[in-house]
Symmetry: C2
Subunit: 126 residues, 2 copies
DNA sequence: CATAATAATGATAATGGTTATTGTTTCTTA
DNA sequence: TAAGAAACAATAACCATTATCATTATTATG
């Protein structure tokens, strides 16, 4: 049943995401990986992004507009600049604290969260 | 320039959202409002949802799948059940605390956030 | 090593949610 | 009550994403 096979394209996508901290879209990833694999198709990029997300090797960030991807899976949050729309990392001292606080007033079982902060990034604030 | 004009359709959309706590999609809203306005078009629903969101009278919640809408704008968070995909309200004791914590380690200016919790709702846990 | 089995690919069509366009209708105000 | 403008219904267009399918690459096996 669906034994995973190695693919150079997938490897390349993963490597690219690990090298980046700007949370590129599928299209940006496509344009980059195409330098190494000129014939790669956008469908292959999407397919592998979905697969890697399912495997927990990358994170998919859903916002307004196209999804963005993060090759760094340690728990952290994100910030979206209202001006330049860049998506930046935010590191909280204790990510699990958020879940604990919410759990106090919520009857279901909370096992995770995703936070998106909004504001003006330091570059745009200048 | 763009003086806002009253519309019964918009009124009805707003009224419906205020009466609900289940964060319906544009399509669900469309199906409901159609009972009152059988000729309303889906485009009108989208147009008014965008307008109301811009005015701050409702909140747009972007997740995987179609956007969902909330007629209650007091600060609160949301919970998405991994099983039944219902979207529920979560009320934190202090919503602004999250911003303050993040601001400690972030150089830009944070002026808001949206949190989406994940887990199993109390109904599905049974 | 050769070959069979099957997962992954590239090319492309299809989908689904959302936005834009256009001609008509409904509000507003003067 | 008539002119001007915003909102409408109908529908086409758009864009991100997913599905299809014939071919190629990777892995398992004899």
């Amino acid at each position: 049943m669906a034994a995973l096979k190695y693919s150079r394209q997938r490897e390349s996508i993963k490597r690219f995401l690990m090298s980046r901290y700007d949370h590129p879209t599928a299209d940006t990833i496509y344009l980059h990986v195409r330098e190494e694999f000129p014939n790669i198709s956008l469908g292959t990029v999407y397919r592998n992004l979905a697969l890697l997300t399912e495997l927990g090797e990358i994170i998919k960030i859903t916002t307004d507009g196209p999804d963005r991807f993060d090759g760094h899976v340690e728990p952290h949050s994100h910030f979206l600049c209202r001006k330049c729309h860049s998506l930046l990392d935010v590191h909280l001292e204790d990510e699990s604290f958020i879940d604990q606080q919410a759990q106090k007033n919520f009857p279901g079982m909370i096992d995770g969260h995703s936070v998106l902060y909004y504001g003006i990034c330091s570059d745009c604030a200048k």
